[in-house]
Symmetry: C2
Subunit: 170 residues, 2 copies
């Protein structure tokens, strides 16, 4: 009985939390799940039943809660989405960790494969391209705060960029 209906955001959240609890504590307890998701204990029971029916968690009353292989695969996928997005928010946009975290929690349910791949690529590119790099992102932050480009410094900025590249190379 494999349900074809796509997972709801709520169910994705449960899987993600269970995966994380499995890693930190050895096992996921309903109470901890409830706490993480800011939900009542009773609500968790219902969710677990639903997930068990979809073949994503192993569940029997009063017993341990674990992810099935399929459940683990799904949870890992969601977890990856979360990390990529949080990384983008902190590393590129320079959003403070707290905000990045909560935003990632919401965004992870709505970005599909292609966008995610591009994000991965973009983070990478910005960190590795000699013309980009941390200092370009630094200039971005300055632009954010001051609201304007310091045109007069652009020349030296580019020169420094070139210099840095040359010295790294040789």
């Amino acid at each position: 009985m494999i349900e074809k209906r796509p997972l709801t955001e709520s169910m994705e959240d449960y899987l993600e939390v269970i995966l994380d609890l499995e890693r930190t504590h050895k096992v996921a307890r309903a109470k901890d799940i409830a706490e993480r998701l800011q939900v009542q204990r009773g609500t968790v029971t219902g969710a677990l039943k639903a997930l068990a029916e979809k073949g994503l968690v192993n569940y029997a009353p009063y017993s341990f809660i674990t992810l099935t292989p399929r459940g683990t695969a799904v949870a890992l996928e969601i977890s990856r989405r979360h990390q990529v997005i949080r990384n983008f928010l902190t590393e590129v946009l320079r959003i403070p960790p707290e905000t990045a975290e909560t935003t990632a929690c919401r965004m992870e349910h709505v970005v599909e494969g292609m966008v995610l791949d591009r994000l991965v690529c973009f983070i990478d590119f910005m960190q590795q391209c000699p013309r980009a790099g941390t200092d370009l992102l630094g200039a971005f932050i300055h632009y954010c705060e001051s609201g304007e480009l310091q045109r007069k410094h652009c020349g030296t900025c580019i020169d420094e960029c070139k210099e840095r590249f040359r010295s790294r190379k040789e």
Copy 2:
């Protein structure tokens, strides 16, 4: 009777569509709203009642549907979020328009002020900073497709960047 509960994503969608219909046709009809949101006509009636109760739309059975001033303000805000996100996806990440559009539709409900501001800023910065600009984004696309930086070209890339800046300046 001003409801304090924050708008649901669904309600935000309704407001956004009504705003757009008000602009293109002079007035929003329930049938068109239903079509845009891929929902049955009956569903729209319920949503409109809810929105009317919150003071966001003017609604009476069988009459025209318009946004109240407050409703307009909210709709404009959502619409702006949508545009900024779509812009980022197309201009920076170079996601095809179609995908960018549908992704923006989902993302618009989950990004809050700070992240949005940063996105605006980032798009701007990438387009205006001489060290960034369209050609840097071009290099990004190449990196996406090939999967690697062409390190040997980096020198000339930076040189060209500098040259372009100088000639623009003088």
